[in-house]
């Protein structure tokens, strides 16, 4: 039968005279057989011989049955519990102050996310126009190559690289790795409207990045992108990946064909304060997009 310590509640094996966790005497131990314990049950710890100072009681006031110390009591702990808690509270207060100050200082320059989105760059046409997913004719930049998959063809300007590619999507990065441009198109099953695709994308970002929201000053608008009808909008979020945690902005366009069985995505991601510059820098890429599916 286990013996519960009256002081700390630790369950002690049968036969223990003293709690193995805190050293407090176990009330029921007096009835236990004395074979496994130090002192005989009920025997008070002996005092020191004449001429020696009386033994010091332990920190909790009881007397060790194993040894009666004769010298000065050894200090078991150095740090009072109040100091430990105070250390953590001080950390909280200090870091809360530093964090707030950092945030205030860091936000003196507002992020540059307002203004036009992706759909404003190529040759936007008003909503309600006839969908014609055919690329606007653009001049090929010097040194550019062309890349394509089942859904899209795009010009890759000199210095830009194809970071990844599969049947439906192509991801391009700029020469300075300041962001990425994702182009994707493929069949939708089941069929999805542009609005449903937008809702899916919003859910994706919100589940993946902690604070996804529409960027301040940005608008959501209907239009076409190189012939594909859809919706454009801008999301702001903290992009956490690997050793990076970036205040990022994604300028998005998502569309669907009239029957909803084909989707179109254009996504441009960069730092929030760099979005407008990056849109301009990506203009040759965006204007060269040619959707293959209609």
């Amino acid at each position: 039968m286990a013996l519960a310590c009256p002081r700390c509640g630790t369950q002690n094996p049968d036969g223990n005279l003293y709690c193995q966790a805190c050293g407090a005497p176990l009330a029921a131990a007096a009835a236990a057989p004395p074979a496994m314990a130090g002192p005989p049950p009920g025997t008070p710890p002996p005092g020191p011989p004449a001429g020696l100072p009386p033994p010091a009681a332990g920190p909790t006031g009881y007397q060790s049955p194993y040894y009666a110390p004769t010298g000065p009591e050894v200090q078991v702990h150095r740090t009072p519990w109040t100091l430990i808690i105070a250390g953590v509270v001080a950390l909280l207060v200090l870091m809360a102050g530093c964090g707030t100050a950092l945030a205030i200082i860091g936000n003196r320059n507002p992020s540059n996310t307002s203004g036009g989105g992706i759909a404003d760059l190529p040759s936007p046409t008003p909503a309600g126009g006839t969908p014609s997913p055919v690329a606007s004719p653009t001049a090929t930049p010097l040194g550019a190559t062309t890349d394509s998959n089942d859904g899209v063809t795009v010009k890759v300007p000199a210095g830009w690289t194809v970071a990844s590619k599969d049947n439906e999507s192509i991801i391009l990065t700029d020469p300075n790795s300041e962001g990425s441009v994702t182009l994707a198109s493929g069949p939708s099953s089941p069929t999805q409207t542009a609005q449903q695709n937008k809702d899916t994308i919003d859910g994706y970002f919100k589940s993946k990045y902690p604070d996804t929201r529409n960027c301040a000053g940005s608008t959501t608008s209907n239009g076409t992108f190189n012939g594909a009808p859809g919706i454009s909008w801008t999301l702001c979020f903290t992009l956490t990946s690997g050793a990076n945690s970036i205040q990022a902005a994604a300028s998005l366009f998502v569309g669907a064909n009239s029957s909803g069985n084909v989707y179109y995505i254009v996504m441009l991601v960069t730092r929030q304060d760099n979005l407008q510059n990056y849109l301009t820098e990506s203009k040759p890429v965006l204007q060269s997009v040619h959707w293959k599916l209609s």
């Binding site: 050293g23 909790t60 009666a68 530093c98 589940s207 992009l239 990946s241 990076n244």
Partner: protein
């Protein structure tokens, strides 16, 4: 003063009877535990393998070895009472992070989360005085060295890896390419596990700290220094550009990883690698130690790879936290297993002395283990070790 056959003053003979340990056959003072080998001397409530005592973790005998307890594993010098104080302090810190999160002060919450465990560890190092008389060298090399390596490694990682391309096609949930997955989930953890222990391994005065528990603590300190630097560099952009107040969103998941699982993983994995090397230096390299290094590396890879994969698969963030908790719990258990056996072996070689048990605070005459609670005395704080009053060796004749 006349001494008895144990070498103690005669009046002590009234309470110090000698018995012969059933397990190591040494003559030791009567007690619940053998002070030489740590085996339980009782006949009930104890399995046959009393000497291995897996249900009595050497640093804290009230706990089983297979128990993923944070504080009794990573703060092995703390006694029963002190452990609770550190647990409360940790709870206060976590509550503070929660309050900051709810208040929308995410920048502040990130900072507290990054520093909470390392600050507690600094207080622990002060409490246990593991560094003895050389705090500057030990802390500088372990925590400081870990932090420097953390900055270098993380900055290089940021240069090499472009996070923008990892978003992929949001309609198909294809978040990350295989190359990026291997880089973040395999290469980076392995490189980190190779580099993090270096500050502790090259500690100039390491010969003054021969015990495995010292190596473990130094390794944990280096790992926590690394963790602080890694998190600060990784979140530097967020720290300097997040608004002072914003909608909390699901930041709580990242904050939990930052405050709990990230530092615990980095600290315990590095501690285990350093402890294994410490054992090797003592000529004790066996499958247990090699397994420790392997577990540290595999656990770190599993942590990083799993986190990345589950996030990309758009599983619930709660599932990611559960995965991280499982991995960290497994590492903690292996750390306990390694430390438990190291303490059992190393404490067996200590001489008899008057001392105070760091766990139950009982005044005892013992060699390696407290005869009352069975705690290994090699895991005692430096102040207690200094105050040991060596006595003559074990008795020559046992009580029958």
């Amino acid at each position: 003063m006349r001494e008895n056959h144990l070498g103690f003053p005669s009046y002590i003979s009234l309470i110090l009877r000698a018995v012969r340990c059933d397990h190591c056959a040494n003559d030791v003072p009567d007690g619940v535990f053998c002070t030489r080998c740590g085996a339980h001397q009782g006949k009930t409530a104890e399995p046959a393998a009393a000497k291995a005592r897996v249900n009595r973790y050497a640093a804290h005998p009230a706990e089983h070895v297979v128990q993923p307890s944070i504080f009794t594993t990573l703060f092995p010098h703390l006694g029963h009472t002190k452990i609770h104080e550190f647990r409360w302090a940790f709870a206060v810190g976590l509550a503070g992070i929660l309050v900051l999160y709810i208040a929308g002060l995410i920048t502040a919450a990130i900072l507290v989360a990054i520093f909470l465990v390392p600050v507690l560890y600094l207080i622990y190092l002060y409490e246990a005085q593991v560094y003895r008389d050389e705090p500057a060298i030990v802390l500088g090399f372990t925590i400081g060295g870990g932090a420097v390596i953390g900055i270098v490694v993380t900055v290089i990682e940021r240069i090499v890896y472009n996070p923008y391309q990892g978003i992929g096609n949001p309609l198909h949930g294809a978040g990350i390419g295989v190359g990026a997955l291997l880089f973040l989930g395999l290469l980076v953890p392995v490189v980190q596990e190779v580099l993090k222990p270096l500050p502790a391994l090259f500690l100039p005065n390491r010969a003054d700290f021969p015990e495995t528990v010292d190596g473990l603590v130094f390794g944990i300190a280096a790992g926590l220094g690394f963790s602080v630097a890694e998190s600060l560099v990784a979140f530097s952009s967020a720290l300097t550009s997040l608004p002072a107040h914003l909608t909390p969103g699901n930041w709580i998941y990242d904050l939990t990883t930052l405050a709990v699982f990230q530092p615990l993983l980095q600290g315990s994995a590095t501690g285990m690698v350093v402890a294994a090397v410490w054992r090797y230096r003592r000529g004790r390299l066996a499958s247990r130690e090699i397994g420790g290094v392997a577990v540290a590396v595999i656990a770190h890879v599993a942590f990083a790879l799993g986190t990345q994969l589950f996030k990309d698969a758009q599983l619930s963030p709660l599932f990611v936290l559960v995965w991280q908790a499982v991995v960290v719990g497994a590492v903690l258990i292996y750390v306990r297993y390694l430390l438990h056996h190291a303490l059992l072996e190393e404490a067996a070689h200590m001489g008899f002395a008057e001392t105070v048990c760091p766990n139950c605070h009982m005044h005892i005459v013992a060699s390696g283990f407290c005869p009352n609670c069975g705690g290994a005395l090699t895991a005692a704080p430096a102040a207690l070790k200094r105050a040991r009053k060596p006595r003559a060796e074990a008795p020559t004749k046992a009580r029958t």
